[in-house]
């Protein structure tokens, strides 16, 4: 589905360029659920914006394998869910409108569009809320609206940027299972970025572990946990504990010794902003 090779990204600054991604390579197979986890300050959001075609790369390639599309602009087959639901929804539009707007260019018929919106809202458990405004809903419900907008768009590939970082623990668990179910039903390919190791292991078929900035892929861990997964059953497995320890070790490994070339200037500023 997606092939990322030697992806690099640095930002021009007044001084030396700020290198965020040094060398990131991994693949996502069709139907696979890949999670990307890294310490705060790793270029997770930058990586995601490069993959979604929202940010030009400094080097390397990002290719949608199926069609051979080089991702230079946001591709048709990709939908995104962003971290901050309060900023990613349009407060002046009702929930139904929010979900509908991206469909205007893909579904010409108004009635059909309306039905697609209804179906998507039902899938995320929000039927009956089409006429509410986003600010009338709880945080978890708002993020459901963002998810409904993404799936109504009928993407093949769903990219999510820390989608559950701003909700409470119970809501988070509910939303995680919602995403698993939707992905199962729609046969979606999913890439989800998170800083939460449990979440990365719980959701993913594979976990891509990023280093500190400038980021490289430290390792890719296969998650051999049975599906369907459950918050209690899966997280209670000894294998789950082993995997999360393995990922945690990779993340907390002292960066300077294992990646001697890593340039750590400006690190503290990035920590503050993420």
């Amino acid at each position: 589905m997606l092939t990322v090779e030697n992806l690099q990204k640095s930002y021009p600054t007044a001084g030396a360029p700020l290198e965020v991604l040094r060398d990131v390579s991994f693949t996502v197979a069709r139907g696979e659920f890949v999670t990307v986890v890294g310490p705060s300050g790793a270029g997770k959001t930058t990586l995601l914006r490069c993959l979604a075609g929202l940010l030009p790369r400094s080097g390397g390639s990002v290719v949608l394998t199926g069609t051979g599309t080089v991702v230079d602009a946001p591709p048709q087959e990709v939908a995104c869910v962003f971290q901050d639901y309060s900023r990613s929804l349009m407060p002046w539009s009702r929930v139904g409108r929010n979900v509908e707007l991206p469909l205007r260019n893909t579904i010409r018929d108004r009635g059909e569009r309306r039905r697609a919106v209804d179906v998507a809202l039902r899938q995320v458990g929000l039927d009956g809320f089409a006429d509410s405004y986003p600010w009338q809903l709880s945080g978890g419900m708002q993020q459901r609206v963002a998810i409904a907008r993404a799936i109504a768009y009928r993407p093949e590939f769903l990219i999510m940027d820390e989608p559950f970082a701003s909700v409470d623990a119970q809501t988070r668990a509910d939303l995680e299972d919602l995403v698993l179910r939707i992905r199962q039903d729609a046969g979606l390919t999913v890439l989800l970025v998170t800083h939460d190791i449990d979440e990365a292991v719980y959701l993913g078929d594979r976990v891509v572990v990023l280093s500190n900035r400038p980021s490289v892929v430290v390792d890719v861990i296969d998650v051999d946990l049975p599906r369907p997964r459950g918050q209690v059953s899966t997280k209670g497995l000894p294998r789950f504990a082993e995997l999360r320890t393995e990922v945690a070790k990779l993340i907390t490994r002292p960066t300077a010794s294992s990646w001697p070339h890593v340039d750590r200037t400006g690190k503290s500023e990035l920590d503050r902003s993420s």
């Binding site: 995104c80 900023r87 990613s88 349009m90 002046w92 260019n105 768009y153």
Partner: protein, 263 residues
């Protein structure tokens, strides 16, 4: 709830509405009686001012003066809103151009609008069109500058959303950027409305042939004091009415904004 409490509650509700009306009512009553026997040439009885008001401003002058005044103001103001929002949206998307024009725009905003009245008369002459053009010119700046700020202030996350869902330029402008900028645009439009009202009056005080301001000034110069007072009264009422209507429209238009902010 007991009956006494219910009465008390209703009494308090009535008091809440009535108490603020005491002073306005008192002012009118005092004005009425204090001026009733007035022989001062400057302060005619309120009853005479109101009679003059009814005779002139509810009579022929509606067509000959009131409508021309309001028409010129609304034409200039309306044009300024359309042009200001359009240019503002354009410049908001072209930061370098906005930067290049910054001194010109800031000068245009800071220049006291009234200083341009003689210029407009010299270049464009008198009559309706020069007045409308002048009102439009001076009110376009607050609208345009606020629109630029608003359009540039669209949340980057929302910009990412519109791009990742491949909205067209048109959709992005009309469905996202302009709605997001609406609070600031409306603030600019409110300033523009105030300026338009002042300019409506001032353009009629210099080289005009009709209009509420014109009649009021001529009344003062020809010592028709009741007519002057009634003209001022009308201008005051119109000033309040225009602002109240705008506030109502604003509240409707920006309902999402106040709610979303409370959140």
């Amino acid at each position: 709830m007991t009956a006494a409490e219910a009465v008390g509650g209703r009494g308090r509700a009535a008091a809440r509405v009535l108490v603020p009306l005491l002073v306005p009512a008192a002012i009118v009553v005092v004005w009425w009686f204090a001026s009733a026997a007035s022989t001062s040439p400057y302060f005619p009885p309120l009853s005479r001012i109101l009679a003059t008001f009814a005779e002139h401003w509810l009579g022929d002058r509606v067509v000959s003066d009131v409508l021309p005044s309001l028409g010129r103001m609304l034409a200039g103001f309306g044009a300024a809103v359309v042009v200001g929002v359009g240019l503002g949206a354009l410049l908001g998307r072209l930061p370098l151009l906005a930067h290049a024009l910054n001194p010109v725009l800031q000068f245009g905003r800071a220049l006291p609008a009234t200083a341009l009245v003689p210029v407009s008369i010299a270049v464009l002459g008198i009559g309706n069109v020069p007045k409308i053009l002048l009102i439009a010119f001076v009110t376009v700046f607050p609208v345009m500058l606020n629109t630029i700020d608003g359009v540039r202030g669209v949340d980057p996350v929302l910009e990412d959303v519109t791009r990742s869902y491949r909205l067209t330029r048109r959709q992005r402008l009309f469905r996202v950027q302009l709605p997001a900028a609406a609070p600031q645009v409306v603030a600019g439009v409110r300033v523009a409305l105030g300026v338009a009202f002042v300019m409506m009056i001032v353009t009629e005080l210099i080289a005009a042939t009709n209009g509420i301001g014109f009649v009021t000034l001529i009344a003062q110069q020809s010592f028709r004091v009741s007519l002057m007072w009634s003209g001022m009264l009308l201008l005051g009422i119109l000033g309040v009415a225009v602002n109240v209507l705008f506030a109502l429209a604003e509240r409707r238009l920006l309902r999402w904004y106040s709610h979303a902010r409370e959140d």
